[in-house]
Symmetry: C2
Subunit: 248 residues, 2 copies
């Protein structure tokens, strides 16, 4: 039986999602909990994608195969009882064997939180990026228009990106203010390594007046990482939702 | 010169406020930062009061004496540069030598955060108490009336309380809902050891219908800790503000 779960985690104390030896990872903790339920047998967990150290997830999606005879509705409680308190399984459902957390994903939504108070805030230090400088929000919103659509995002990904194909589609991109925070939201077909963080870093340079909104077009055309802005820290980034076309 | 500072800290990774050997404490970190600024000379920090392990502060107040010739407005930046990222000095001012962070305090405000989502929330695990049960808010608000005023709070403090005098005045007490959270607010002349946490624990029993609001009166009269409710966890508690009568 294949089980699909939505998982939330606070990335602060993880060395990223992907399992690696001698490191605390989300996948490592999930597989440890599953092994306890399966008489110490290894159960491989497949996620929609990795997240880096410090990056959070509100709606990461995973799947795994099991022969345990547990009703899907019982999985969250069973797993949460065995998981550390910074990972939480929000829901679980039975899916067909052809469902794949990574390959069946149609769209992903990421959000980035920035806070602008003049003083740093101890309660947000792990959850939002402190950026106490004035930003021209209208210009940033204008810049978003150049990102929406299908583009080669080579300029907006880390040189470490493994994917050959750098073409992705951004379906939706928004920026809004909430109290002293600025929230960035991107919905796309997929995101390259560090892509959201470089997009936000570049948009901040537009907001600071260091670049014109129209420059986004030239940066995309350049297909060169050096043309885009800085990579903002991972602590403000949230994998918000993964879409499989089965919503509602 | 005596300097008064407002300090905020995330209590999650501290073993409480008060300095103790081989333990990470807020006072310890503050005195370490001050020693660095004073050629390794010990500078004693006096706070409005202690907070327990896991308890947070939005507006703790401290004072210390210094012979450094630094304008008060420069102290926050100077100290923040030397402090760990879970303590932040929000502001500093020069005060008279007769100001004392503890003895000059006239009122203190504490808040307690509860969250009621059915699923636990990894992002709030250190910042609010997860209480997913239905609560009768009106009855809880009614119970607050019995607490306001000057009372002997023996029933509402830990047996470990050192103060002989258990009489305190609660000036204001409120409860309100914000999204899926319930916030408790108490302004009082002072609070005994664990007092806010026992008050909240008792009010929750009223909210669950296990006690009638009027029982609060009898619990106060009993002057016996065993008559009150459970002590709720420290992670939802915030020392919100200390009043010195010089506000505005």
């Amino acid at each position: 039986m294949r089980i699909k779960c939505t998982v939330s985690y606070d990335g602060s104390r993880f060395n990223g999602y992907q399992i690696q030896p001698n490191s605390r990872t989300v996948q490592g903790e999930l597989e440890k909990a599953l092994a306890k339920m399966h008489k110490r047998k290894k159960v491989q967990v497949v996620a929609s994608g990795r997240t880096d150290a410090g990056v959070h997830a509100v709606g990461q999606v995973i799947h795994f195969d099991t022969n345990l005879n547990l009703p899907p509705s019982k999985w969250p409680m069973a797993l949460n009882a065995l998981l550390p308190d910074d990972i939480s399984v929000k829901n679980a459902m039975l899916v067909n064997e052809d469902f794949h957390a990574r390959f069946s994903a149609q769209k992903k939504e990421y959000r980035y939180r920035l806070y602008q108070s003049s003083c740093r805030d101890v309660f947000r230090r792990n959850y939002a990026y402190h950026f106490p400088y004035r930003l021209k929000v209208q210009e940033m919103k204008e810049a978003l228009h150049y990102l929406i659509g299908t583009h080669d995002f080579t300029s907006f990904c880390s040189a470490k990106t493994e994917s050959e194909n750098k073409i992705r589609t951004i379906y939706e991109a928004d920026i809004w203010e909430e109290d002293d925070e600025m929230i960035f939201r991107f919905v796309g077909s997929g995101f390259l390594y560090n892509m959201v963080r470089i997009l936000v870093g570049t948009l901040l340079e537009v907001g600071e007046g260091k670049r014109k909104p129209g420059e986004l077009e030239q940066i995309l055309e350049a297909k060169d990482r050096r043309f885009a802005g800085k990579t903002v820290p991972g602590n403000g980034l949230y994998l918000w939702k993964v879409y499989y076309g089965d919503e509602n």
